[in-house]
Subunit: 276 residues, 4 copies
């Protein structure tokens, strides 16, 4: 049911994280170890910020990530200081580019792993809550895109944590009213090109896996023999659905019902509480 | 802006109409003569009824029709007594299978040539008018699919002409309220597997082209030297956005603001009046 | 590294074997149990014979089989008395329709599971052995297609077993000359629309799995409570890379280095010996 | 039958040439004015050199260029000092990524507009002339890729003009021997990342159109009011199948049977003579 990855740090080739690690995201597309499905072959996407352009680029493909030659080319030639990547395992909605993550709105990107339960029962009611001017911009048919547009409606661009808490509160309220016990299951990554927010929450309190990388200075001390760790910048942060290399001490699980912010200066971790 | 074709008669290979005529639908995908665009390369679809199965099959492709090898294979091996085919020229919405015609609901198929003007302005309001149980079944993002689900909401399965008249009346009412002078432009073909309805209408009274074939007995008398005409069944009816062969006398233009019904017994032609 | 299936019997909907069995070929595309890879997501193909047309239809797709909506439509609406289906796990060559099985030449279809080892070393020399008039008909880049055209060159249309034995003998001779210890690994299915030949062989004597169904009268006696078994015709034969239902006694492994023929009258099983 | 473009100059976003000019390459994919076909919708490709990486990136797509969202994203976010782009109109060979230009070998890129006549008659003999180590690297089925590998065999990496002259001489010799009067029709662009070579030749002496841009200092003086001309670097050179903007004096036709070289310092134009 999807895996994703966010990188923030000094500019690197996308392939450094997408292909080269032993358990890279592309490897996870065939052999996920912690996901609900081992195969994530229902499309792929990567969104990256460049040095010059205001809005991020988005590359979406309906081919399995392990097959996509264009992805390999782009990943081997594009450098970026901040990117989100996502591999999809569809829960039934069509495999089409408009259903591939990351979704984009202006400078914002959004990836989701999880689902809205009984989505068909409440899709219309959720859609009605989307801001009128945003409604026609939804192009796909996934629950994930709907969550993004609800979060935008609830103020994502101004206060991301509050907007996501309101969005989840609304989905749970509507779901409960339609008799769904645990309406939402999610890890979410979103960014405006400078900060990255990562959320882990589910109505049942058993959320999909999510990890963030340890401060790189500490990891380097643990693994002085690893040259690539020595080259990476101090501010490097990686958030992943599951670890991309087996380095004990390098990965920390995001706690249940919490979220983190990666930005210049101090990182933050907070409790996540749906708002109604 | 799209071209389509409907066939009703004795079972024939799809390729008899899709490929073999000098100005076949596949030829029109590259060289339309009467369409707004000469190229209709933004996807393709064909829906056909078989002898045994209740619901029609639907084949959708995002490749240009002139390229699609699978279409050629299917067209060369599948026989059907009733089928609809459509080539698409997108007016901006994504090229994806869920945006390819014909759209299907139960036993019903639907193709559309034209557009809802300023669709982004009224998409949400139109969506709200769709029946609650139908809303989550919309998978794509086109105006054409929306028109289908509105027609279904207004009773397409019970009284197709009345439902389409109500649908158009509603779209015009909403469009006018948002300041659009001529909200809708359309030719529409729809069928339940026994009858075929074909509509030609536009708010401005200058609708896309639409033709129906003359009674085959008369055409045979006009062209006794054409062997394929001799083989076709008496009840054969073809409805097309533009003629697929140059046979003077064989094609009749559907009048502005009118619709026709093809079914066992007498064909009918009626005036079309949007209902408000 | 691919899985395939051949059906011969009274006409059935393709979906009866492709989708409905608990461990259908489509299920195997995600969860193969006996294959080298659990995922066979690098394209798909099915070739079928109809009642009227001389040459079989071929449907090829580069999407994973589990995703392909057109395949589901075709499988649910097309009946055939004889068809071959194949799901692909690429060993490196491009994922494109011209690399999808079954390959077709005139009335003949061909599927392959396995590989030619060090193919890049001997591809040119093998290609030179292909008949001059056949050479330009090769469209893809796989070892599997090359084996087909070599077999055609060596007389597949006249004496299939002898042609395949000569083909394998040639590949082994060329491979050994280039220092490859075990040049070929294969199960192969091929048909002219009336008989089906199935081969199991590998230079190392450890071939990919291959099974054929037991005489249906015996299976019915074993499982009198299974309605679908009662409906199938007596002559029904299924050949599969791995069983599609768990019915002890219903499947027999094709022995190492042997081949079988399915045709009207008696089935045959013979030893397979590469010819040099 | 294809259109292409080569850019050399200071780094620019790909979209500056692919999308923004009034008669850009993407516009030509729907509305070519000088090509044999107005529609070039059978795939697309762009290859670009970056600042850091040794080999160029290649992006290939089988969708029409005018549709491809990923192309628009890449073109809007990737800067390059040297790139080749190509839109394809197939003359029959499959529409697949391995048949999309530019073809790549090491640091070299290659685009072709035209055809080898009666290619199926001489494909095998041409293939036999390809160097043994290069043969297995051919992945597609086009005449264009074959010409590239023949040119590589004849020394493209050492002396491009001589290698292309030998390649053409060979193709003509083989073609004539098989009874083809005018075996080759071509414009070709090729580059190693520093120089660009552009060839215009056909056996019949009526070659596809090809233009190169006038020295930019002169064009600026002709059109002082055009801001984008003022920004471009002095060394900017554009080679195109047909002009992308209507600026009298800005484009020069490459003469029949000649080739040009774009590199630091002086550009060169020479006569082209097939070598036997």
């Amino acid at each position: 049911m999807c895996r994703w990855l966010a990188y923030s740090g000094s500019p690197i080739l996308l392939e450094e994280l997408l292909y080269k690690p032993e358990h890279s995201l592309i490897d996870q597309s065939l052999h996920s170890r912690l996901g609900v499905e081992t195969t994530n072959g229902d499309g792929f996407g990567v969104g990256w910020y460049g040095p010059d352009t205001g809005t991020p680029a988005v590359f979406h493909s309906i081919e399995p990530a392990w097959n996509d030659r264009n992805l390999r080319e782009v990943a081997g030639h594009v450098q970026s200081p901040l990117f989100l990547a996502h591999i999809r395992a569809s829960t039934g909605t069509a495999v089409q580019q408009t259903n591939c993550h990351p979704f984009r709105h202006g400078r914002w990107l959004w990836v989701h792993n999880g689902l809205v339960r009984d989505f068909h029962l409440i899709k219309r009611e959720l859609a009605l809550a989307v801001d009128e001017s945003l409604y026609p911009q939804m192009e796909g048919s996934t629950d994930s895109e709907m969550l993004f547009y609800l979060a935008l409606t609830f103020g994502l661009e101004d206060d991301p944590p509050a907007a996501v808490e309101r969005m989840v509160g609304h989905v749970e309220e509507v779901g409960h009213r339609h008799g769904t016990e645990h309406p939402i299951q999610m890890t979410i990554g979103t960014t405006d090109g400078s900060s990255v927010w990562a959320f882990r929450y589910s109505s049942e309190g058993k959320s999909r896996s999510l990890y963030y990388s340890t401060d790189l200075r500490s990891v380097r001390e643990m693994y002085p023999e690893r040259p690539r760790l020595q080259e990476a910048s101090d501010e490097t942060r990686i958030i992943v659905s599951e670890p991309i290399v087996d380095l004990p001490g390098a990965w920390n699980e995001v706690r249940e019902s919490s979220y983190g912010v990666v930005r210049d200066g101090e990182d933050e971790l907070h409790e996540f509480r749906p708002l109604r």
